[in-house]
Structures are given as C-alpha cells and as structure tokens.
C-alpha cells in the first residue's frame, strides 16, 4: 500500500479451539509480493488464513488488513480474495452459474458480470466446461474453479489455501504463473502449502509455521539452508540394485545404503542435490532401468521434526 500501512498486520495473534491450539503469539507484517506460508498439516496455516479472511475471530491479539480489523467487516472483502482448501460446492449447478452467483454477491450485474465470469473462467481454463455441472468436474477442475471464484473481483489481496492440491502438472505451472502475474501487477498474494517445492516455485519469501508458531521467517535460501542439513532418505527401485548400491557406497555425500529384497536401494544423504546429480550420472553411465525414485521422509513434517530436534 502506498500510504505505508502494511497489507496484513498480525500482532501477538492467538487462536484456540477450546483447549486445542490453532496458532499462538503470531506477529508478522506482509506488504506486497508473494508470501509463502509453509508448514506441515495441522501446523496452523489454515487457522491463520481463516483468521485473515474473517471466518474466525482472534482469541488474543489483533489482525488488520489494509489497516482495518477483519472479523465482521464485510466491506474489506471487496478487496480480498480467498480460495478455501475444502473441496465443497453448492450442488446441482454449473461452473458458470457458481461464478456468476459469486459475482452477483460482489454487486456486479449485466455486462460487467458477464465479463467477470468469462474472464475468470478463461483464466483457469474452464470456459469449455462452464455449462457442465460442477459435480462432473475432476478434482483438479474443481480446484481451478475455486481459484476462479477467488480472483473474479480482481482483489488487491489474494489468499490461497493449498491452491495446487490435485492440479495436474500443466495447470500447476499455469497457476504458478498466474500467481506471479498477480504479484507483478501490484497485488499481494499469500499462498499456503505443506510442500516446499510448490512454494519455492512461486516465491522466495517464506514463513515457516509449525505447531501454531512461526518457526522461521525469511528468504528461501535461509530456509533451504536449514532444510539441507536434514539427512534425506531416497528410495530407488531398479533392475540392478546391488550395482547401484556399490556405486553409492563410499561417496562423501552418502551416509548410508540399504538394499532390500524387493530390488530397492535406500540411500541416506545430507546433500540431496549432489546425490541426485550423481544418481543421474550413474543411471546414464550404467544404463540402469529405474522403476521408481521416492523420498520416504521428504515431507515437511520430517524436516520440521528434524529442525526442532525431535
């Protein structure tokens, strides 16, 4: 905002659900650009976004958007867009009817309404299926429809709760581009996810949230640095597991190799990027047929558990 007021300002914000902690003592300021809210499931990301979108009221502290309290302040929502995580819709209606209804709630009518509906559906690639009932949409399409619902009124602040969940790879790239374009056009976007690479693809400004508290806040490189110290486990299933294991043993970036009877090799490494580089070389060099590469502990919960010293 031009007048120096932060877009979003939380001061000692806490929320409890009875005895259960949602978030605790969160203080932060967001002023423009894309802000990634990263944390494992149950960390408090959704609680924070529900507070920021006025669905919940703070138990303690305060939360202001554009300098105003959010709860029970409907005027603010002409400037805010929110994409919920739940896959819920009103039954028995088409995508176009749904978006048109929401546009009416914003007070649009006539040609302006038609234009808003058409543009938002086109933006998320649903113009060809707009007359189909929502219940016939795939999960990814429904996710895109929710996104259309949150951007139709061109909000200044857009909050997206897990926006890439269930979206196919092509649309993942397009949505990331859309989010970046919105930020470039001067809007503020807050995106939550429990998947680091998703957030990483959109922004370098990250808030790490864990057990209801802000665990770290800052640039992606700082977060990456924390996470790279975490010894990862990578599982490779291939036709020649022993050959692969042989190559990996003794490498300085590999701290352990286990071969199992099912033809899989589990490698422990604290330098994931170097390991993947070497793995690619080995696969090409020895023409290994690889069936599967997964990271059993490559989830944020494991990383957080490591970082908080569990």
């Amino acid at each position: 905002m031009g007048d120096g007021v932060p877009v979003l300002q939380a001061e000692k914000l806490s929320k409890w659900y009875g005895n259960i902690l949602g978030i605790s003592d969160v203080s932060l300021e967001i002023s423009g650009g894309i802000q990634g809210l990263l944390g494992p499931n149950g960390a408090g990301k959704s609680t924070f976004l529900k507070l920021a979108s006025g669905q919940l009221k703070p138990s303690l502290g305060r939360l202001r958007i554009f300098g105003e309290e959010v709860f029970a302040n409907p005027r603010l929502f002409a400037r805010i867009g929110f994409c919920p995580e739940y896959d819920s819709f009103y039954a028995e209606m088409s995508g176009r009817q749904f978006i048109a209804f929401l546009a009416k709630l914003h007070g649009f009518s006539g040609a302006a309404l038609q234009e808003k509906v058409a543009v938002s559906l086109q933006t998320v690639g649903l113009e060809e299926r707009q007359e189909s009932l929502i219940k016939t949409y795939s999960f990814g399409m429904r996710q895109r429809l929710r996104l259309a619902a949150s951007i139709l009124h061109e909000p200044e602040l857009l909050m997206l709760d897990e926006p890439l969940r269930g979206v196919d790879p092509l649309w993942r790239i397009r949505i990331i581009k859309l989010i970046k374009d919105m930020a470039r056009s001067g809007r503020t976007v807050i995106v939550s996810s429990h998947i680091l690479p998703e957030i990483e693809a959109m922004t370098s400004d990250i808030i790490l949230i864990h057990q209801g508290k802000i665990f770290a806040e800052g640039d992606i490189h700082y977060i990456r640095g924390l996470i790279d110290g975490h010894p990862h486990q990578i599982y490779i299933k291939c036709a020649a597991p022993r050959q692969l294991a042989e190559k990996m043993i003794g490498q300085e970036y590999v701290s352990g190799v286990v071969v199992d009877a099912a033809g899989g090799v589990t490698v422990s490494t604290s330098q994931r990027d170097r390991f993947y580089e070497a793995l690619l070389h080995t696969i090409v060099e020895r023409s290994l047929e690889v069936e599967e590469i997964t990271s059993p502990d490559d989830n944020l919960q494991a990383v957080f558990d490591y970082l908080v010293g569990k």
């Binding site: 006025g54 669905q55 029970a72 739940y86 009103y90 039954a91 209606m93 709630l105 914003h106 007070g107």
Partner: protein, 270 residues
C-alpha cells in the same frame, strides 16, 4: 437515525437482495423441495378420495368446508407447516456449515445479517410456493359445490393468511435455531411436534408460549366434525393481539438470528 445506522441498514438490505436470488434458485432445485412438493400432494389425494367416495351420496351442506378446516388444522398447521419451515429454516445456517460452503459467503462483501435475511426470505417464499398451491387445490376439491359463495372464499383467504403468517414465524424461529445450534433439526423436531402440540392443550395462559396458539387464534372457532377436539381447549387470544404477537415473534427471532450469525464463529468438522 444516524448516518452509520442508515448505512448499516442499506448494507443489510443490499446483501439480502443479492443472496435471495441465488438461494431461491438453488432451493427450487434441491431434492428436499421435490420431496416436499410430493408431500403436498397428499391432502389433494385424500381430498380427491373423499370427494370420489361421496359420488352418489347427498353430502350435508357445508361438510366439504368442515373437512377442509380439519385438513388445515391437522395436516397443514400441525404437520406440513412445521416440517417445511423446520427443514428450510434450520438449513439457512446448517447447510452452509455441513456443506462447508460458508467461506464462499463469508469472504464476500456481504453483511452477515443480510445473508441470514436473504436466505430466510428465499426459503420462506419457497415454502409458501409449496404449501399454498397445495392448500388451494385441496380447497377447490373439497369446497367444490360452494365455490360460488363468498363465505367459502373468505374461509380460504383466512386459512391462507394464517399459513403465510405461520411460514414467516416458524421459519424465523427455526432459522434462529439453525444459527444457534449444531444439531438444530433434532431440537426443532422436539419443539415442533412436542412442545407446540402438547402445550396448546394446556389450560390457561401457558399455551401462549407456543406459536401455534396465535395461529389458531386467528382461525374461526372450533369447527364441527371428528377433529373438533383438537381445538377444544384453545383459549384464543384476540385476533389483533395474536397478529401482533406473530409479527413480534418473527421480528425477534429473525433479529436474534442475524445478530448471532454476525458474531458467531462456524468451525468445519475436521
């Protein structure tokens, strides 16, 4: 009225108007609406059976209207009205929380009391569109021979007016219940078919703590026929007072529902 209050009222009215159209559209398509329309055919079917059985028999004058009065009392007032308003009224809030669609409304520039008012108006109109045609057809079938007279139409107009007031009043009450409670249907059933039925047979002023008392007070005194015992113990309130009471009950519960909805948090069940 100061500027802020005027603006707040305008905001509520605009929000209610925007919400009304959509939920009226959605309500017409709902499965429960189809079920209720079918339920509304029951008295029509029964009236047809009664009239068919009278073919060849010389029915006493006024018997059709007496049966219609019983239909009104037993089916419409004590059953259909309660069922319809219970399901539509409580769903004003509960369908949003159970279907997890509330964020779509709460994150729009809408006044929360306006949301309640808009949905209430949509569902009340829908209820009236189900119940009144059913009443009219049942009336036409039962009062067939006396349709030329003014009396029969006066009875119908009065019955329809009572049902309209009943719809507005009960829907307001059940809307409040839906906003207040998570399992509002169960409590609503106890109220509608327990409290409302039982208390109207209590002597003295106790029966004034029910909505149905004021509705019955607006109807002509006990009709003849087999079901006259249903109004036997009614100690009616004067019509003007009964009307005032119904308007006040409607306004009170609707206002309370809007106030509660404005300040209450709704958590999804996860």
């Amino acid at each position: 009225m100061d500027e802020a209050a005027r603006e707040r009222k305008g905001w509520i009215r605009r929000s209610a108007g925007r919400v009304f159209g959509f939920f009226f559209f959605l309500g017409r398509r709902a499965k429960k609406t189809r079920v209720f329309v079918l339920l509304g055919l029951l008295p029509i079917l029964q009236a047809t059976i009664i009239r068919t059985s009278e073919v060849g028999r010389r029915a006493p004058a006024g018997e059709g209207l007496a049966i219609f009065a019983n239909f009104l009392m037993v089916f419409y007032l004590q059953f259909f009205l309660i069922i319809l308003t219970l399901f539509y009224g409580t769903s004003v809030a509960s369908e949003e929380t159970e279907g997890r669609t509330l964020p779509f409304l709460l994150t729009r520039p809408l006044s929360k009391p306006g949301i309640v008012l808009g949905k209430y108006a949509a569902y009340s109109l829908l209820t009236l569109l189900i119940i009144l045609p059913s009443l009219l057809v049942a009336f036409l079938i039962l009062a067939g021979q006396r349709l030329g007279g003014q009396t029969a139409w006066m009875i119908f107009a009065r019955s329809a007016a009572v049902l309209i007031l009943g719809v507005l009043c009960y829907t307001a009450f059940f809307t409040f219940l839906g906003v207040l409670l998570k399992r509002s249907i169960f409590v609503g059933l106890i109220f509608g078919f327990g409290w409302e039925s039982v208390i109207s047979y209590f002597p003295g002023s106790t029966q004034r703590f029910s909505i149905v008392h004021y509705l019955k007070s607006l109807l002509p005194s006990a009709p003849g026929g087999r079901f006259s015992f249903l109004m036997f113990r009614l100690e009616p309130t004067k019509p003007a007072l009964a009307l005032l009471a119904l308007v006040l009950i409607t306004a009170f519960f609707l206002g309370l529902a809007g106030f509660l909805f404005r300040w209450k948090e709704y958590l999804s069940e996860d």
